[in-house]
Symmetry: C2
Subunit: 307 residues, 2 copies
DNA sequence: ATCACGCTGTAGTGTTGCTGCATGGACATC
DNA sequence: GATGTCCATGCAGCAACACTACAGCGTGAT
């Protein structure tokens, strides 16, 4: 029973296919396919089944993939057991964050981790759809992700059920405020209610991306649906559009609270917020250096609302 | 980090040397040595150190070996997870027992396991010194071993501390009675006391073998040491010698209670007994078929004194 | 009907891990 | 103090394994 084959099985599950799995494992699909077949021959049970032109794990394959997580965790614990005898646990840790989270967190994180000494961080900004955060954990040690407030962590992140190989560490809750230009009629207000702003032209994020659904909550207290005039993912572009008077938008408070050309108005009456979490593969989370990095993130965000 | 290398590390620890480890792994010492060096290069910590002309694990190596046990257990759990989807979990299970235990248990065990169906047993009788039962678990799935009564399991079996990779399942406690020939002056008694028999000529087992120390307990209540005239390990030879009037001996009650030519006299006043345990490597114990076999052993001996 | 996509075999190749043997250090014996 | 034995380790050679490249085939989309 080969470790690499178990790894391949996990990858096929999370990425729903041999080809995608092969990509993250940096091998050809043929190699993954062969690993699966040898694994299958070894255990004597059907592990995968064709569905359409794709592939899916059987119940046995699913169980084995779950067990494979424990194997990977045990292996990483073994490595960690040795690292405790090293005076300077070094190594490379990759961290990815969605765009605005990266802006808010990564500079200070890099400063703090540099101060720790021997860990060298590899920062990435990955702007992906909501469903693609979890697969990212196969390529990146620490994934900083966000999701709409209100969902439970296990509902927000697929495969976060215990044993499924995902560790979720909540960092903070960040309110989403209504951004208006400085010369907007509401700009002088301390806060707004949904009915105050539901009639505006809205600039939203693309469908499928995190917090896209939050805007729908604005209309929940009213009888109208918000009118979305633009769909822009980059919050800085959104802010520039708002500043220029092309509409209003929901923007994260901590990242854009000090923007000079727009005004952020808290929403009263509904919970408009996103939650920022750290996602990790359970085995990666065992690495001491990874733990250190996450500890820094927790310390950095301790002052923020943990909600 | 290779599984086989971790396995090699464990073997080097239990067998105290590269050569002995290589023997149980069915490879050359050179291969084991190379596995250790690649493992060492991988983790970056010294794992072994020369001591005399031999080799010993460092603290780091010891910790890694402990962690390696968990890896092996996780791997075996993975295999077991697949086997639950198999309707007939089959496979080979090897069982070894010390000589008299084998005589008492193995015939019925074989009958019972045959009745279960697809498991094929590989029986072995291994008469080894007390310290050599634990290393046996590397070659045999289920080791039936015995030890003097009164010792705790962790004292009796090296490496049985939690995490050390050994599972101990107590089976039963078997009294050791004084065997005398039928025409012996004491043969009519229901029981004897140490002072009754301490002056006899004793036939004992060789030093270092299980229950060798129990005879010393006979003299504890008296001021004399028992006179050992012969040292014979095979209980049937011992019984024949006793029957021929060449001395008395301590023999296990359940195995020799019905011997026609000797009489077994319970010892009053001291606890003269041995304990029979099942020893397994933790990873081997995870196999479903191994569990089945052990369950049969437990059921077979349920009627005996579990002490 | 054609194309595109995805998984799976097969042949070829590069790497890996093992064996066999020689070396050097450590303990025991004479 | 010299010799022999035992044990771990390095090196060369070899065999087995795992991956890549490519072709084939089934499925779904255009």
């Amino acid at each position: 029973m080969d470790i690499r084959a178990l790894e391949a099985l996990r990858a096929v599950r999370t990425h729903r296919g041999v080809t995608a799995a092969a990509a993250v494992l940096h091998v050809t699909p043929s190699a993954v396919s062969q690993q699966l077949s040898t694994l299958q021959r070894d255990v004597g049970v059907q592990l995968t089944e064709r569905v359409g032109r794709g592939l899916r794990l059987t119940a046995a394959g699913d169980a084995l993939a779950d067990a494979a997580v424990d194997v990977a965790v045990a292996l990483e614990k073994a490595r960690a057991a040795c690292e405790t005898f090293l005076e300077h646990p070094g190594g490379r840790v990759s961290v990815s964050a969605f765009q605005s989270g990266a802006e808010l967190l990564l500079p200070e994180l890099l400063t703090r981790v540099r101060a720790l000494g021997t860990i060298d961080l590899e920062l990435l900004d990955e702007d992906v759809a909501q469903d693609d955060f979890v697969p990212l954990t196969d390529r990146v040690d620490v994934v900083i992700a966000h999701r709409p407030d209100g969902e439970s962590a296990s509902a927000g992140w697929a495969q976060s059920e215990p044993g499924r190989g995902l560790v979720v560490v909540p960092l903070f809750r960040e309110p989403l405020d209504v951004a208006v230009p400085l010369d907007h009629p509401l700009a002088g207000r301390d806060a707004v209610r949904p009915e105050d702003v539901v009639g505006e032209d809205w600039i939203a994020v693309r469908e499928g991306f995190p917090v896209a659904g939050v805007l729908a909550g604005v209309s929940s207290g009213t009888d109208r649906a918000p009118r979305v005039s633009q769909r822009i993912n980059d919050f800085h572009v959104v802010a520039a559009l708002v500043a220029a008077g092309h509409g209003v938008a929901l923007l994260p408070r901590h990242t854009f609270g000090r923007h000079p050309a727009i005004r952020l108005l808290p929403l009263r009456g509904i919970r408009a917020a996103r939650r920022v979490d750290v996602l990790m593969r359970r085995d990666r989370a065992e690495r001491i250096v990874v733990r250190r990095v996450v500890d820094e993130l927790i310390a950095m965000t301790a002052a923020l609302d943990r909600g």
